[in-house]
Every structure is written in structure tokens, then in C-alpha cells.
Symmetry: C2
Subunit: 116 residues, 2 copies
């Protein structure tokens, strides 16, 4: 069985605090999960059987947008923009969630990023 | 319409780094979301229409377990234990996700906690 993972990329050039980073990562995780359930339910089932592996990476805005443009037509992915009610300007990109999907499909896009 | 929110409580007495905290929070968010979709789909729909509000709080182990015991029979909630592959002992409680659920149902349980 292919290795399945969900990748959460948190934007690192905004200096978000820990609570803000968790909230934005959670938005990305839930929305990408919901998309994957609709588009690739078998992969989501396999991911659950494998223990729901999550990888949390960091990237600046340019890298996030480049990955999103490459991933959006191939993989379930959710670009998160902050509502701007608290710390950030409305519409600020904060995170990107990809999958659950096959590691072999995600890794070519995200392999150069570092762990958060 | 009632105000609906998802509350993510991250354990604060483990000194998890930002990436670890995001990963554990994401586990809590996805699992509690999945439970809520099965148990209270109308509330989840309302939550989405309201913008998917998430609140990220912090608590020590004792508070997390007390809240979990009070919440588990009334609300969709997911207690997260780390697999222990990296930084923590296997089975270590790291986070608790509650809802999406009505704020009026969650707040009596979590109202004393501080934001992460």
C-alpha cells in the first residue's frame, strides 16, 4: 500500500504566534481533508488505517503560492486566507493543506521545504 | 442562528515546539470535525456558513482530562495521544478537539482557559 500523508505548510514570513499558527494549520487540515474525502475517499480510508500521518512544514509566501499552483489541479489542497479580524490584513495567505494523498505525489512538490 | 465554533486545546505543559503543536492541533481538529459531521451534520453546515470559527486554547494535562470527561458524552470531541515516534513517550496526551458545536455548549467547559 502506498504511504499516505497530509502535509500542512504554515507561512513562516508572518511571524505568527503559536496559537495563530495552530489555528491556521487546523483550517488547512480540515479543508484539505474534506476535499480529499470527496475526491479520493479510498486514499483517505488508507490514510486512517496507516495512522493519519501529518507533516508540518514551513514556507514563505512565494513558495506556498508556487506549490499551490502546481498542486491544485492534481491533488486535494486548500489555500487558507485569514479573515483579518485580529492580527493580519484581511485576505493574507497563512497556510496550505495538501491531502491526505500519496507521499509519492506530494513529495516532488514539497520535498525542498523544512519542518516547522 | 446559534454561534458555532470548534475549540482546539493544546497541552501547554509539554513545551512542544510550534511544528509539533500545529501537528497535534490538526489531529484534534480533523478527528473532532469527522465526529461532528457524523453526529451533528446540521451544526457542521451552520459552522461552515458562519466561516468555520476556530478557537485555540491551552491547558495542562489535568485540565484537559477534566474537560474531556465532561464533554465526551455530550459533544463531539477527540482526545489526541501522540504515537511517540519522535519527541514524546507513546500515548502522551497532547491535544483535545471539541466540535464544531454551539458556543453555548462548549463555553461552560472551556471558558476558564487562556488562548494559546
Amino acid at each position: 500500500m502506498d504511504e499516505i500523508e497530509q502535509v500542512i505548510i504554515v507561512r513562516c514570513d508572518l511571524n505568527m504566534g503559536k496559537g495563530k499558527a495552530v489555528a491556521q494549520g487546523c483550517h488547512a487540515a480540515v479543508r484539505a481533508y474534506e476535499m480529499a474525502k470527496q475526491e479520493t475517499p479510498r486514499i483517505v480510508s488508507d490514510w486512517k488505517m496507516q495512522g493519519e500521518k501529518k507533516i508540518v512544514l514551513k514556507a514563505d509566501l512565494e513558495a506556498i503560492m508556487r506549490i499551490y499552483e502546481n498542486a491544485r489541479n492534481e491533488l486535494p489542497c486548500a489555500l487558507i486566507r485569514d479573515a483579518g479580524l485580529t492580527q493580519l490584513e484581511p485576505g493574507t495567505v497563512t497556510a496550505l493543506g495538501i491531502g491526505p494523498a500519496r507521499r509519492s505525489d506530494i513529495h516532488p512538490l514539497t520535498g525542498s521545504l523544512k519542518l516547522l
